[in-house]
C-alpha cells in the first residue's frame, strides 16, 4: 500500500510529468489559458491516462508477451490509446458538449500526447504490476492536472497584469512555466524509486 502511495506521489510531484520530465507540454501550454477548460482537460487526461495505462498493461501481459511481439509495443499502445481517447471524446460529447467544444482539438491530441504514451511505456519499462501501472497512471494524471490547473490560475492573473509588451502572451507563459519547473525542483530527491 505504501508503495502504491509512493508511486502516486513520485509520479505526481517528484517526477512530475510536465515540469520534471517535460512530457505533455502541448496541452499544458494550449489548454491553460482558462481555469475551467484546464479543469476539463485535467479530468479528460486523468481518465485517459488511467484507462490507457491499464489497457497498455493488459495488452502487454496478455497479448504482446505471449505472442512475443514486444517490438509492436509502441504501435499497439498507440492504437489502444487512440481507442481510449475516441471513447472519451464520444462520451464527453454526450455528457458535456461545452467541455467538448472547449477541449476542442486537444482531446484528439491526447492520442498523440507523449505523456499518455510515456506513462504506458514507462510502466512496461519499470515492470510495474497491474495495480502499480494503474496507480502510476493516476499519479501522472494527478501531477499533470495539478500543474495544469495551477498554471491556468497563474495565467489568468498574467492576462490581467501589466506585462511588458514584448513578453505578453506565450512568451511570459513559457517563462512562468520555467519558473514553475524551478519550484518543482524542490521536490528533487524526495522519493527514490
Amino acid at each position: 500500500m505504501t508503495d502504491l502511495l509512493l508511486i502516486i506521489v513520485s509520479a505526481a510531484l517528484v517526477n512530475n510529468f510536465v515540469l520534471v520530465q517535460f512530457l505533455g507540454l502541448c496541452p499544458f501550454m494550449g489548454v491553460s489559458s482558462r481555469i475551467d477548460s484546464a479543469l476539463g482537460m485535467s479530468f479528460a487526461t486523468t481518465f485517459v491516462l488511467t484507462l490507457s495505462s491499464v489497457v497498455a498493461y493488459l495488452l502487454q501481459s496478455l497479448l504482446l508477451i505471449p505472442l512475443d511481439a514486444l517490438w509492436l509495443r509502441t504501435l499497439a499502445f498507440i492504437v489502444a490509446i487512440a481507442v481510449a481517447v475516441q471513447f472519451t471524446e464520444l462520451a464527453l460529447k454526450k455528457t458535456s458538449p461545452l467541455l467538448h467544444s472547449v477541449l476542442g482539438i486537444y482531446l484528439p491530441l491526447i492520442t498523440t500526447n507523449c505523456a499518455v504514451l510515456g506513462v504506458a511505456l514507462l510502466n512496461t519499462n519499470r515492470a510495474h504490476t497491474l495495480a502499480e501501472s494503474a496507480f502510476y497512471g493516476i499519479g501522472a494524471a494527478l501531477g499533470f492536472s495539478l500543474v495544469l490547473v495551477l498554471f491556468a490560475g497563474i495565467r489568468e492573473r498574467l492576462q490581467l497584469a501589466d506585462i511588458p509588451a514584448p513578453f505578453q502572451g506565450a512568451s511570459i507563459a513559457l517563462i512562468t512555466a520555467g519558473f514553475m519547473a524551478l519550484a518543482f525542483m524542490g521536490f528533487t530527491g524526495m522519493i527514490r524509486l
Binding site: V83, L90, K94, P164
Partner: protein, 197 residues
C-alpha cells in the same frame, strides 16, 4: 524464416485483434452516446448581437451560430464587433481573430429612421425587417420602433424612394457614463472604457 513469419503473423493478428476490439467498442459508443442536436449552438447564439442583419452571409444569427458550431470562422459579425469575436474565441477555446469588416461599419450602434414625409407606404421595408420593428400599413406612412430596431439596415435597400436613413442610436436624455479614472502608464492591451464605450 518461418519464425520470422510467425512473429510477423502474430503481430499482424494481434494488432488486428486490438483494432477489431477497439472498433467494436467505438461503434457501440457512437450509438450509446449519440447526441441529438447541438446544445453548443445556443451558447454561441447567446453571444451574438441578434441584429439578424445577415452580414455574416447567413440569414440571421441562429444560422450563423450553427455555422460556427460546424467550424465557420468566428469573425464574421460586424455588429458584434471585436468584443463578440473575443467572447466567441473564449467560449470555443480558440485563438481570437481580427474582425472581418470595414473600419467604417464596425462598432457603430445605428438605428433606421424613416423620413416620414417621403414614405409612400409600400410596406417593402416592413417585409424586410427581420425583427418586426417597423409598423405601418399599405398606403400609410411607416415608422420604426427605435427600441426594437437592431440596426441591421436590411430595410434600406428595399425602399423604392430611399427614405430610410441609418442614424446613431439615440441615447436616453439622462444617459451618462462616468469618466474612466486616470490610468498610470501601462502596457496592458485591453482597457475598460476603451473596449466598449
Amino acid at each position: 524464416m518461418t519464425e520470422a513469419l510467425l512473429t510477423v503473423g502474430a503481430g499482424v493478428l494481434g494488432l488486428s485483434f486490438i483494432g477489431l476490439l477497439g472498433g467494436a467498442l467505438l461503434q457501440y459508443a457512437s450509438k450509446a452516446f449519440k447526441v441529438d442536436g447541438n446544445p453548443l449552438v445556443d451558447s454561441i447564439d447567446a453571444l451574438l448581437p441578434q441584429t439578424q442583419c445577415g452580414q455574416c452571409g447567413h440569414p440571421g444569427c441562429k444560422p450563423y451560430a450553427e455555422a460556427i458550431a460546424n467550424g465557420e470562422a468566428i469573425n464574421r459579425c460586424p455588429p458584434g464587433g471585436q468584443e463578440t469575436v473575443d467572447r466567441l474565441a473564449n467560449l470555443l477555446g480558440v485563438e481570437s481573430l481580427p474582425l472581418d469588416a470595414d473600419e467604417t461599419t464596425a462598432d457603430q450602434d445605428l438605428v433606421a429612421v424613416i423620413i416620414e414625409e417621403e414614405c409612400i407606404g409600400c410596406t417593402k421595408c416592413i417585409q424586410a425587417c427581420p425583427v418586426d420593428a417597423i409598423i405601418g400599413a399599405a398606403k400609410l406612412m411607416h415608422t420604426v420602433i427605435v427600441d426594437d430596431c437592431t440596426g441591421c439596415d436590411l430595410c434600406v435597400d428595399p425602399c423604392p424612394v430611399d427614405c430610410i436613413d441609418m442614424v446613431p442610436r439615440p441615447k436616453a436624455p439622462d444617459y451618462w457614463m462616468p469618466q474612466p479614472p486616470n490610468v498610470i502608464s501601462s502596457d496592458r492591451f485591453g482597457q475598460i472604457g476603451m473596449q466598449h464605450g
